[in-house]
Amino acid sequence: MKLVTAIIKPQKLDDVKEALIAAGITGMTVSEAKGFGRQLGLTEVYRGAQYKVDLIPKIRLEVLVTAATADKAIKVITDAARTGNIGDGKVWATPVDSVVRVRTGESGEAAV
């Protein structure tokens, strides 16, 4: 089992959500996050004074999938979240040792 985590632009959330559902990958957890990548944030200008805004609003999206589905999920998210501009984000997968569905008590891949 794998946990696929994606940091994406807030305005791409709907596209990513639709794309994952269309690909048969259901279930996700979304949280609002802030961060920066290689370009170290943005610069805003107020009355000529430049302010570095380094923590930019992002969406953190987490999807729990079977090991076989992980690559597909990453591809779907990557395709749907891409604008081609700086700040499109990142997607990664991490191994998951155990999963339990709370309602039924199922565990392992059946619980994903």
């Binding site: 805003e44 200008v45 107020y46 009355r47 000529g48 004074a49 302010y51 570095k52 805004v53």
Partner: protein, 434 residues
């Protein structure tokens, strides 16, 4: 004199203008409030609101008489007396001649100017001022600075027959300031500079981000200022007449041109025209046209406004060069804009437009008017700066003018008012009183 009777049209316009000018101070509170950080917006707005309270009360007790009384027959101050404003409701206004409006309407109108002037100063010392010290400062400052300066500029004396008593020093010298370029804007700008020096820089200035927390608030505030300013300028005609119409039109076109001027500088210098720029540009145009609005043609108002917007957009960078934390650019907008507006009359003033004014350089009047304007502007600048420095220094050494650094960093709203503007974390409990 006895044959002048109250004019209802004039009175109605002055009363309406008075309400318009009052609205400028809460408008200023929004304009300034949006420009500070989320943790100090309430304190910023409270500085304006408490000024309405303090100045209005003082105005009734002695302020109006100190500014506009003539009994002392002094060009420096009106009269030192407890007035209570208890004159007859039928007494007409006499300010260098009889105006057919009640004296109380004039007194109420002028009160609103006395209210907004100290409120303007508060932008220079955002985020760090002890609230009670501010309220005390306002009371002392209007007494020693605004009321006398208003007398110098706005008091044309009590005229009976050909005899004028108690005209102000600058008014009598023929310095042209229709609605307060000197008494309001240069005065507040110079005082703001003095207080920014007395209080010192905010913790983290030029290191931490101090970007405005709400541009929509700034734009609402700018809109209310623009709206209210028609009362400020056109109301200063003290009648519903041609001068009021000229001032009204000039106020609109100068402000519009100034907003464009500021945006142009931003587009060329920074790459993007900003919403803060359009709001700031509008205010700089309003400031600059204030002294000139009844003395220049509308085409000249456009030029005055355009130059004001560009000049102020460049001037707001001065604080970084000279290293003082005039937080919301009271100097860059009000002092610089006010100076330009006062001097502009020396170029664009036209007696053909308004027979009350003289011709400036462009109308063949030579540099005499410009000289008068410069004298009035710099005299008020120097007086306000020096006296404010002294008042600020004394308050700072006695009761303290600044909150503690910890309170400033955590947020002055909670420290001074036990309130916060926005619920940014979890919900609250209670609502009970102790």
């Amino acid at each position: 004199m006895t044959d002048v009777v109250l004019n209802t049209g004039d009175t109605a316009w002055v009363l309406a203008s008075t309400a318009l000018v009052l609205l400028m101070t809460p408008g200023l509170a929004l304009f300034y409030g949006g420009m500070v950080r989320a943790k100090s917006v309430l304190n910023m707005m409270m500085m304006s609101m408490v000024t309405i309270g303090v100045v209005s009360v003082l105005w009734v007790i002695y302020g109006f008489k100190l500014a506009f009384g003539y009994e002392a027959n002094s060009q420096w101050y009106g009269s030192l007396s407890l007035s209570g404003l208890g004159s007859s409701i039928n007494e007409l206004t006499n300010n260098g001649g009889i105006y057919p409006i009640p004296l109380l309407a004039f007194a109420a109108f002028q009160l609103m100017f006395a209210v907004i002037t100290p409120a303007l100063i508060s932008g220079a010392i955002a985020d760090r001022t002890k609230f009670t010290s501010w309220a005390i400062f306002v009371a002392v400052w209007v007494t020693l600075v605004y009321f006398p300066v208003a007398h110098w500029v706005f008091a044309f004396g009590n005229k009976v027959g050909d005899t004028v008593t108690g005209a102000g020093f600058l008014a009598a010298r023929g310095v042209e300031d229709f609605a307060g370029g000197t008494a309001v804007h240069i005065n507040a700008g110079a005082a703001g500079l003095a207080l920014a020096i007395v209080l010192g820089k905010r913790v983290g200035w030029r290191k931490e981000s101090m970007r405005p927390h709400s541009m929509p608030l700034v734009l609402i505030g700018a809109a209310l200022l623009w709206f209210g300013w028609f009362g400020f300028n056109a109301g200063s005609a003290l009648g519903a007449n041609g001068v009021a119409a000229l001032a009204f039109m000039n106020t609109q076109v100068a402000t519009a041109a100034a907003a464009l001027g500021w945006l142009l500088v931003e587009k060329l210098r920074d790459g993007h025209p900003t919403s803060l720029g359009v709001a700031s540009g509008a205010v700089s145009g309003l400031v600059a046209i204030t002294p000139a609005c009844a003395f220049v043609a509308p085409w000249a108002a456009v030029v005055i406004g355009l130059i004001a917007g560009m000049l102020c957009a460049l001037a707001v960078g001065l604080k970084y060069k000279f290293n003082f934390d005039d937080s919301l650019d009271v100097v860059g907008v009000h002092l610089v804009g006010g100076l330009w507006g006062c001097l502009s009359i020396g170029f664009f003033g036209s007696s053909a437009i308004n027979s009350l004014g003289l011709d400036g350089i462009l109308y063949g009047g030579g540099s005499a008017l410009l000289g008068k304007q410069a004298f009035g502007a710099f005299f008020v600048l120097a007086y306000s700066f020096i006296v404010t420095l002294i008042i600020g220094f004394i308050i700072n050494k006695t009761i303290g003018f600044r909150v503690k650094p910890d309170a400033e960093v955590a947020g002055i709203d909670y420290d001074q008012h036990a309130e916060t503007a926005y619920e940014l974390t979890s919900s609250s409990r209670g609502g009970f009183s102790s």
